[in-house]
Amino acid sequence: MITMKRLFSLGILAIALVLMSLPPHAAAHRAQATVTIRVSTWDSGTGGLKPYQVGIAAFEQSHPGIKVDLESIAPPVGQALSWYIARVLTEIAAGNGPDVMLVPDDQARYFAHSGQLIDLAPALKQYNVQISDFYPNVWSLGNLSGTTYYVPKDWADLSIQYNKTLFKKAGLPFPKAGWTWADFLRDAQKLTVMNGSHPVQWGVQLQGDWLRAGFLYFVHSGGGQVLSPDGKTTTGYLTSKASRNAIQFFLSMYYKYHVSPTPAELSAFGSLNLFNAQKVAMVFDGPWRMADPYEKNPSLDFGVAPVPIGPSGKQVTEPFWAGYGISKSSKHIAAAEQFVAWSASPAWAKIDAVFSMPANKSAAVAISMKQDPHLKVFFDQANDVAPLEEMKTLNFDGDVTPALQHLIEQASLSGSDATIQSLITQTSAAINAKLAATYKQ
């Protein structure tokens, strides 16, 4: 039976336990309270997270009152960044978003427009970030309507990686700067090997649903655009003569020349890297896979060439970029600003330059990236990057991507020269309808 005496004893015991559990010198601790900020990324694995761990350790050492909690949100096998974006959006909706978010380029406009991010300009000025040290084309991607929302983490552009062994076997010279679409198609055809009606080797891996590494490159290289500058229509842009010709050339490589696996066939391979498995002789890609697995594959002898020049006559490549933004609802904005400002430093860029290229010119020079024969091609194209179509409009992924992917899939499976132009017209109409609905809201 519980008596007052027993209750009193239990209460004294409870108070004693609470007091004992308090850390010593609690007052002193409060004065030196550590702030913990959460930083989200889609990189994962031991290799992927190592640059973060090294960089964060260096940041924490130079900023004793700040701890960084790295949140690695990796997509499942074979899936794109949509998984990462879904998780981050869910956290934000639950009021538990990260303080600092790594945002991919195709979502940059969306996050910035939503009003979720702060203007970084005051912090960059306060912490003396040397903006002039950044590649101008790369830095400008983080600026929208005159406001700096992002600091570039790293960047890359598009090149052709080619299998030297397969080229030699086919008796073809290696691709080099100045080669054209016609040269590219000729090589792709000669490098496609069939066993009856089944391909055993494709000349090139066109990137199917990954628009920036395929479709968009060909449109821009052909002198066309997808969207108007205000991002509200495709009429006169996707349907311009230059765009139409470029799209037909791109899609004919599927339905007419069969030099590439179709998007459906590519999807059926899951996460298998066809270039590493030497099933394709060329691939449009950035530099991310060169160090691992390509350079680690003893049987793969590969080279890097600039993307071919299209009918526009100009060298055009596509940028890839990710930037750090700070959430407006962060409870530790000052600490987050220090982290982002530090991430803009050449010191961090050098640590981070494992999978991608530093956006700081001084960091690229310091680690001799520009002399690396594979990476040199990417740096040489730094001034040739096309503007991002995704930054023109509010919701590219929702309004434009599905229709373009549908066009590519349909053409790759059942397209013909006779039907392709009407497919482009239908696609343009479908996108315009979506854009109209978005901008009406």
Partner: protein, 313 residues
């Protein structure tokens, strides 16, 4: 004379509480014991469901506050060609996958109900695939169904057959996913096994003595007595298949050309790729109603074909 024993435990005259009867005490204990579950049910199920119903009447991109738009999401659904495509694909998937799953699970259960040596080992082996992660299973079947280098087309080529495009083909991709879904019928099989073991052996013996063969015993005895289990598995499989997502997400991304655009996958696309959480929530409610209506139809028609031992039918 002994003083009369007072009928009241409180003879001083204060108002007395009526003693609870045993059923009332039991009812009170019942409600107390289910209270934790009930609180959890309201907070974690009913509450979020009502909130999602409210969200289905809004336009919401997860980043900003929801904006009330009334029934517009439901109206937009009616005019969304991809929505109807996802419904059609899922309906075919369910119509094909559920009967196939039930038949295969029943066949396996019948086999595993035989009194053979190593019976428990076989039961474990046949159940194990269903506990493997959905993503791992999907990646495995990616390789089985790969049109160029996959296991299935390789085996077919030894028989001189040029295999179809499977998951890379508009015509075969959905069938490929139906076959993939059969990997996880271990749970259904176990329930059938339990149902089979609930059938009294004496009935089987009596039927045998009366000259009934194996097939006759199965059709006239086993199957009717198994109908409650079939009903249970049918409803569960319909619910699960309508909500399948992983195989479409990992193996085909809804393609090629939306031929495997599962309903729940399209919900996911709307929620997280197209940033239309309100529309996705509306789709989820429509799915809920579809499954509810189907379940009610099956239940109300079940008395025509479900036989309960000891019942009137």
């Amino acid at each position: 004379m002994a003083a009369p024993i007072s009928a009241s435990p409180n003879p001083v005259g204060r108002p007395r509480r009526r003693a609870r009867t045993l059923p009332q005490q039991r009812a009170r204990m019942f409600y107390i014991l289910i209270l934790p579950w009930f609180i959890g049910f309201v907070l974690l199920y009913v509450g979020p469901m009502l909130l999602s119903l409210a969200l289905s009447l809004t336009r919401w991109n997860l980043l900003n506050s929801p904006k009330f738009i009334g029934w517009q999401n439901y109206v937009d659904m009616a005019h969304d060609a991809r929505y109807w495509q996802s419904l059609k694909v899922t309906a075919i998937y369910v119509a094909g996958g559920v009967p196939l799953g039930l038949i295969l699970a029943l066949l396996l259960a019948l086999l595993l109900n035989q009194n053979v040596r190593g019976q428990s080992v076989f039961r474990t082996i046949f159940y194990l695939p269903s506990v493997v992660s959905g993503v791992a299973v999907s990646v495995l079947f990616l390789w089985i169904f790969n049109p160029e280098f996959g296991l299935l087309n390789n085996l077919l080529s030894y028989l001189g057959i040029s295999g179809p495009g499977w998951i890379a083909s508009v015509d075969w991709s959905l069938f490929s996913l139906i076959l993939t879904s059969l990997w996880g019928i271990g749970g259904t099989m176990l329930i059938f096994l339990a149902g089979l073991q609930g059938i009294p052996l004496e009935l089987q013996e009596a039927a045998s003595l009366d000259g009934a063969g194996a097939m006759q015993r199965f059709w006239s005895l086993t199957l009717p007595l198994l109908t409650p289990t079939i009903l249970f598995n049918l409803i569960l499989l319909i619910i699960f298949r309508f909500q399948d997502f992983t195989n479409a997400y990992v193996m085909t991304n809804g393609g090629p050309l939306d031929s495997t655009l599962f309903y729940v996958f399209y919900i996911w696309l709307n929620a997280f790729q197209f940033m239309s959480m309100g529309y996705a929530t509306a789709m989820a409610w429509v799915l809920f109603m579809i499954i509810l209506v189907l379940t009610v139809i099956i239940f109300t028609t079940s008395d025509r074909w479900v036989f309960y031992m000891g019942g009137d039918s």
